[in-house]
Symmetry: C2
Subunit: 409 residues, 2 copies
Amino acid sequence: MIRSNENFSKMSDSYLFATIAAKVAAHKQAHPQEQVISLGIGDVTRPIVPAVVQAMHAAVADMGQAASFHGYGPEQGYAFLREAIAKHDFHARGIAIDADDIFISDGSKCDVGNIQELFAHDCKIAVTDPVYPVYVDSNAMAGRAGNWTGTHWDNLIYLPCTEENDFVPDFPKEQPDIIYLCYPNNPTGTVLHREALQAWVDYARNHKALIIYDAAYEAFISEPDVPHSIFEIDGAAEVAIECRSFSKTAGFTGVRCAYMVIPRTVQVSAPQGKMVRLRDLWHRRQSTKFNGCSYIVQRGAEAVFTPQGQQQVRAVIQEYMDNAASICTGLRALGLRCFGGVNAPYIWTKTPQGMASWEFFESLLKQASLVCTPGAGFGFSGEGYVRFTAFGTAEQSAQALQRIAHLSL
Amino acid sequence: MIRSNENFSKMSDSYLFATIAAKVAAHKQAHPQEQVISLGIGDVTRPIVPAVVQAMHAAVADMGQAASFHGYGPEQGYAFLREAIAKHDFHARGIAIDADDIFISDGSKCDVGNIQELFAHDCKIAVTDPVYPVYVDSNAMAGRAGNWTGTHWDNLIYLPCTEENDFVPDFPKEQPDIIYLCYPNNPTGTVLHREALQAWVDYARNHKALIIYDAAYEAFISEPDVPHSIFEIDGAAEVAIECRSFSKTAGFTGVRCAYMVIPRTVQVSAPQGKMVRLRDLWHRRQSTKFNGCSYIVQRGAEAVFTPQGQQQVRAVIQEYMDNAASICTGLRALGLRCFGGVNAPYIWTKTPQGMASWEFFESLLKQASLVCTPGAGFGFSGEGYVRFTAFGTAEQSAQALQRIAHLSL
């Protein structure tokens, strides 16, 4: 008899956004005349910028000629892209990250989902709450999360991020080995300022823990005292790794490209007291179970760093952040409390009259054909909130506000 | 202290092909004037065919316009591609595979590396020997392979495929839960004829085992009695899943697209004696840790199934198979025994005078600047063989033979 991984049976049947997609599809089928506006899943809507389109056309043409054809690329990613990243995302900010410590992939969801494979089965995991579900689910699948109690996993350390602590997680009582931090935060849209992030890096150093820092929304930072990379922080290169993505920065959600930075100074203990470089373990993992990101996509990503590419992607990000500002203003004018939207494309909104988040989600869907993401889907500290995204068009964002205004709440 | 996954420390530091690449790089640096010919790693050399290039240009253009832009796609893959696959690869051969049981990914290496996550930790694994290293390494990383003895993993069941058994594996004495079969075979280039594959399917049914069937080289089959899919075999849809790839079929090694077929009739046991569909577990895994294959790539893959696409990829495959035929003929004329090359792009060659395979590999590299893959790298039953691929150009294949002829062996 082939037995399944028992941990799968502890999990909900479907991934949060798959559940929401099913509900939205049912609503559309029941009300085909309604124009549904989705400010739900954090998917971009603006097209790929011309500099990237041009680079991808050139790469497709390369692939059609024997002399410029590219077969298997390096599993770690092409040097042309890793060097462009090192230069523009790190050296330009005075951060010493080597191209050799950068690993290109087809997405941050894969990277953050797969990275846990490198750690011992009994490593203790801490996550902020609410949280991007992949950190939790990938550890649950590996058996590190323990059992699901109906509200939480009993072997995870949760770090609540709420209005009370200004969305800055407190240090836990129990000692974690691995700490997932995502800033600018998904789903709350809030940030850690330099001092708070330094405190977490110091905590990790003092407690011999590792921080997995997800900076997928780095490009949306508008305020000066917010670190763009954890490696801006003293001592981080010994205790942190960082995930970055082209998904939101350059609209690559359907193109697929991301990268992971694992400085060679990050070491973990192996059997017999040996210390090994985490980058070497990741390299072994990636060269065994991954075959590199598409050449066409990597050429597209490289073009993001050209002067035209930078100018074009910055303009798109500005459009989204203009939406974020008008959504925040509009929600507040309607008497709703909201957070985020300044350094992130997410607006974390308190439900009216203490409604449960799935209840508010259902009202918005049924009464206004408007899709948000219920905060409770991100963890129990998300209860009583919903997340709106700024990734719609300006018109959709304005219309969404009008529809909320006309709701009978 | 952050502890690493202890299983990584049991593994060799690098993946087979990474080791070879390092040796080749060192040789090139020491002898910059030499023209190295690689018939080593199974990478294609012919460009992407015009029908696919055209489809990818169109897809890149789609991504550059708001109206036709595609963000996150379905994790399982677009219906347009899954339906094309179901129709052309299965229905056309009279096989009832539903598009809903097909999962698109960015590569078979990922699929075969990740699939083991769905199974219980103590599932017993059987692999043919020699074997594509990913089946073994991915299970070793998960702790299912036991300990490395210096020649083999002590908790794997090895199914030797040698000249003695005509490269058809015998049934094992010990009962496996999961059996990896790759046919046409990498590395030996040999096949299982219909009757032999039926016997394995019957074995799996009788022993409640699962066959993971890797059919990456299906497109190279030239003889009539060789199954293109395991689902041509009676009863396979209850006990087998199949991996397919565009890498060799359509030269996608640098483009990245593959798929996995998991019929809904394949069930595995979950805790409390419940039976669950393996496809549902894979869907949960993929929607948690994968974000879909690039839209541009999927449009390219779809074009492989157009009449022009089919004609063009068949012509390329014929070129490679012409190489395979001339390499076989040439090696035999030199007095070397070789296998494969008829239904697969690999020629499995016995080393002369009983040389060890790494020794012959080094001679070829040093004396002839010719790269092959040492059979021992694929497992202990591969000792005394090397693998040549037919993926070079006709000129390279001919030149390689000349260089071997001039060796002093």
